[in-house]
Every structure is written in C-alpha cells, then in structure tokens.
Amino acid sequence: MLRCCGLMVLAMLADALAVTVGAQSAAPSTDPDPLANYYRNTLIWQNQTTHAIGRLWLNPDGRYFAFFNMGPQAKMPDTHGPFQVQGREGSYTLRAAGAQYRLCLWPQAPRITLGAQVQGELYAGADCYPLAPHPVGDLWSESTDPAGPVYKFWFVRGR
C-alpha cells in the first residue's frame, strides 16, 4: 500500500547527511538491492483522476529520470509552457522505513517548476515517495491516501 507522498523535507535533509548517493546504502541487509529490477526497466504510472502519465527510470549510479505526459494543453506553449511533455532528472536516495522504502528525489539544478509538479504528480517534485520492489511485468493500482487519487502502475521490461 502506498502510504504517503507528502513533503518530507526534514527526512530528506537527514538522507543527505546520512546516505550517500546510490540506492544500496540505505537498504536493509536482508535485501542487497531492492531496486535491482528498476535498473534498465521502466516504471509507468497513470493518475486515474488527472489521467496524467509518467515514467520513472532509476540508474544504479544514483541518478533518476522522470517523464510526464500531462495530456493536451488548452494553450499553445511558448518558452514558458504550458507543455504536454515534461521531464526531470536528478539524484535519488533510498531510505528504509521499517519493512518499506521511501525513494527521495533530488531534482538537478536549475529546478524548473514543472506543471507536473504544480499538479502534484508522482515523482515530479523534490520529495520522498513510497516505493516497493516489484517483479518486471507487474501491474497494480494503489491510492496515496483516502483523499488522494488512485494510480495505476505498469512495471515494464526495457526502456
């Protein structure tokens, strides 16, 4: 169950101090790399309320890439948007929280404010997000919280 997606700045600061870049350092000892299946594969999700679609790539070197399809926009974009397609890159840390994990994302500077971020879409901001290991090919739905949207996930082979 996806439990929280709220802003966790303090937790992220703690991550910065305690965890080096890379996924393995904070993982429980029983699981050498809970993100192993994510490397070279793609996590795709769709917000069932906004219908925004996103993709997440996690690299073993601690870098991540998040891509968003916000759907057709009402206004033609200029250099300030609005853009149907948006992307983000940066570094991540994985934080163990009991039996679960939180993926904390650190967007690369300059941190452009994306429409996906303003809309509160998954993995769009500098935030920590629940993330569980999944086998490639998995398909599932989760809700963030009682008042939040339902997300449909596809964990697909390849990129």
Binding site: I44, V85, G87
Partner: protein, 265 residues
C-alpha cells in the same frame, strides 16, 4: 528510388521577410546565385552584405540562412538557400569555431507542431554524445553523431536510439499515424541515411525498391530511430523559437516548430 542530396551547388536562392527594402536592392548585394558553389564562406559573405545594406538604409536586420531541399520527399530535391530577414532585430552572429550545440547541453530542445504549436518531443543532448528524447508515448536514450557544418551554419545531428522497442502499454499508448492497413495501401515509407542526412520518401511501392532499400522500410518509429535519424540543428540561444523546414519527416505545413528552453524540463 531514394534521392541523394548534393549541396555542392545551390539551385535556388531566396530572400524572405524584407519589407523596408525591396527584392531588387537586396539581390544586388547577394553573390550566391543559382548554379554557384554553395559554401559557408559565401553564405557568411552574403549575410554581411545584407546587414551592410540595411545599415546603409539606417536600419538593423537579423539574417538567418536556411538550407532546405524542397521536393526531397518526392525524389527531386532542390538545394535551396533562403536568407530569412528579421527587420529591426539586432544582427546576431555565432563563432563558427565554437561548438554549435553548446547551448543545447543542459537545456531542452522542444519539437512542436508547426500549426497547432503542441509540444511533441523534448530532447536532452549531453556533451558525451548521449541523449534522452521523450514524448507523449515513450522515453528513449541513445547516442548521436554530429556531421560537418553545413553552409547555413547548422550541423546534422544523427540520433540513434539504444533500442527499437516501444515499451508503453497499449491501453495508454498514444495513437500515432494511420492504422497499419491504411498505411499499407498508401505505400511504404523508406528512410535512408547518407552523408549525415536522412531522406524519407513516403508512398513508395515496395515492389519498386531494390533489395537494399527494402531493408530500409521501418515499421515503427522505434525502428526508424534505432537505425538513425539525422536532424539539422543550428546555434541558438535559450528562449529562441523558430521553424525547421529541412527535417526528414516534417509535420504540419511541411515544417517543425522548435523551442530551446532553459534547463532540463
């Protein structure tokens, strides 16, 4: 069947965007004519002459040279050099010795529909010749090769996806292009790379193709980009918006709208 572009000689020279000065006055200072050798030096000389002519008239102008090949998709490319003028704008020059892609690293190149303006793809070029391209349906990494600078100052950038595979589930994949059956009736599309240039011809009868050319029929966008697609890219500043008419598969109105955005987004 698939034409090869020859840019050694210009076949047509155009001047567009001028209102303050007439065609006759401007053509008098342009030395490139149909049938003359097409070189970067000749284009730079013409740009300087046009700017000088406007200064003489007490006006400023920004000159953008554009090398295009109308008719290429129909098998009859015409090497055309157009001087596009922006009257009243300050002249802008880029150092030919500098990396023409320098302003693209760490920033975002957006391709958009020329008519509706909808953004279609975002391209992140990296200094190490790798790139990431993403659109409404896919995100792909790959590597690129840069060809020699063209007469209009642009360089061909040939992009090769790391994989031809499309991974997006069908239920959320955007519909692109006609259904396969309709596309088959309209003929095949063949794209061929030669000398850092991609020439695509639509509506080809496969029976008329050589064995080598038949192998170039690519069914999906992934297959085409896996095999390499070359796009001309010129030096620009973040914040620029322009149109590109020399792309291998131009969209609406036969051209693509292009934006260079600050940062990665």
């Amino acid at each position: 069947m698939i034409p090869q572009v020859d840019d050694s000689v210009v076949q047509a020279v155009r001047i567009e965007g001028n209102q303050a000065l007439g065609d006759t006055a401007l053509r008098a200072v342009v030395r490139l004519k149909a049938g003359t050798p097409l070189t970067r030096a000749a284009v730079l000389s013409d740009m300087s002459a046009l700017e000088a002519r406007y200064r003489q008239a007490g006006k400023s102008v920004q000159v953008w040279p554009e090398l295009t090949h109308p008719g290429e998709g129909q098998g009859q490319p015409i090497t055309t050099l157009t001087y596009r003028l922006f009257e009243g704008a300050r002249a802008r020059h880029y150092d030919d010795a500098a990396d023409p892609l320098a302003n693209y690293y760490d920033n975002t190149l957006v391709c958009a529909a020329a008519q509706t303006g909808n953004d279609l793809c975002h391209l992140w070029l990296n200094r190490d010749s790798s790139f990431i391209n993403f659109d409404a349906g896919e995100a792909k990494s790959g590597h690129y090769q840069v060809g020699p600078r063209r007469a209009d100052g642009k360089v061909p950038v040939c992009q090769y996806w790391d994989t031809p595979d499309m991974v997006t589930p069908a239920e959320i994949a955007p519909h692109m292009g006609p259904p396969p059956a309709a596309a088959g009736k309209a003929g095949a599309m063949v794209c061929k790379n030669h000398n850092f240039r991609t020439t695509c011809v639509r509506g080809v009868d496969p029976a008329a193709l050589s064995a080598e050319e038949k192998a170039l029929i690519a069914g999906s966008m992934g297959e085409r980009f896996y095999g390499g697609m070359c796009y001309p890219i010129g030096p620009h500043d973040p914040g620029d918006i322009w149109f590109e008419q020399d792309d291998p598969l131009p969209g609406q109105l036969g051209k693509d709208k292009v934006l260079l955005l600050q940062g990665r987004q």
